[in-house]
Amino acid sequence: MADLKVRIWRGEAAGGAQGGYWADYALPARENQTILDVVTQIQREQQPDLAYRFACRVGMCGSCAMEVNGRARWTCRTHVKRVAAPGETLEIRPLANFPVIRDLATDMTPFFDKWTRARGQFQPKDSPDGGVPDEFSVVPPASKMRQQADAGIECIGCGVCYASCDIVAWNPDYLGPAAMNRAWTLVNDVRDGGKQERLDAVSGDAGCHSCHSTQTCTERCPKNLDPSSAIAGLKRTIFWDTLLGRR
């Protein structure tokens, strides 16, 4: 059986991205194996102290994303043969734009803090205390707002878009695609009462107005969501609402 060559970035948090080094491994190439399978096999058989993170293994939890051969990907659902041609080396490193904890494991705290900053939590309109409202809202499945909310709702919070975004790399305050995609689903939720505060929170240089529509987030999203369009929707809503005096 031919060998599969793998290079893995290793390093400690204190060292940062500069303090790390590349470690080389070889293992039997199999017909069917995911990147996560490969990392797991290396950790079990060759490098017991290799740090990485995963949970569900089936593309639901969003914890196993890494940068593989220049692109951020969900490793549990990425087959080796889709990334590297036979004989080509796999190069695996922690997600960009995240602080490294150790090796392939990153600290996702800043990422989720930005969801909070973008007001990514549902604020019930009819019941400010968060309880069940007296009346149910009628949300026709075919309505435009419902469809726009649906388009972004399946985000699993894996951080692939955030790691792929140049604006995040250039401006550490920038909220990033996932947080604003979440905000856009809530702006389109007729049951939500926090629209004005949310639009304020996502506006300006740290928010939607710094997006240059490179669409790398949309290009990389493993769930095929379109955060770039969600951000454009926020810009559009803020522009017309302000111009027409609706906010």
Partner: protein, 112 residues
């Protein structure tokens, strides 16, 4: 529209819409004027005292100055890390100064 950058974004998009049309009008005018072999006297005959012509070029210069400078401001923020209220005020000044140079050139043809 309170967060830094929000208003500048709106100004840049609005000027972009005007510039898109104005640039094409400007280039076509220049091509026709110069390629037709117009002399300076013939050009001045048309621009001198032409109020609409001057208004168009004054607006054009203002939009171009602001649009370009907001772009430079964004690039400087992202690539050089130059950010803040003070830096924004400086860029606004540069934008208006650039526009003033353009309006001076148009004034030269209008008032000559």
């Amino acid at each position: 529209m309170r967060a830094p950058g929000t208003r500048l974004w709106a100004i840049q998009r609005l000027t972009a819409a005007f510039l898109g049309v104005a640039v094409v009008v400007h280039l076509v005018t220049i091509m026709l004027a110069i390629r037709g072999g117009l002399s300076a006297a013939e050009i001045l005959e048309r621009t001198r005292g032409a109020n609409w012509w001057f208004a168009f070029y004054a607006a054009f210069a203002l939009c171009a100055g602001l649009h370009g400078t907001i772009g430079l401001r964004n690039i400087a923020g992202e690539w050089l890390g130059l950010r803040g209220r003070g830096v924004d005020a400086l860029w606004l000044g540069i934008g208006l100064l650039t526009a003033a140079f353009g309006i001076r050139a148009a004034w030269g043809l209008y008032h000559a």
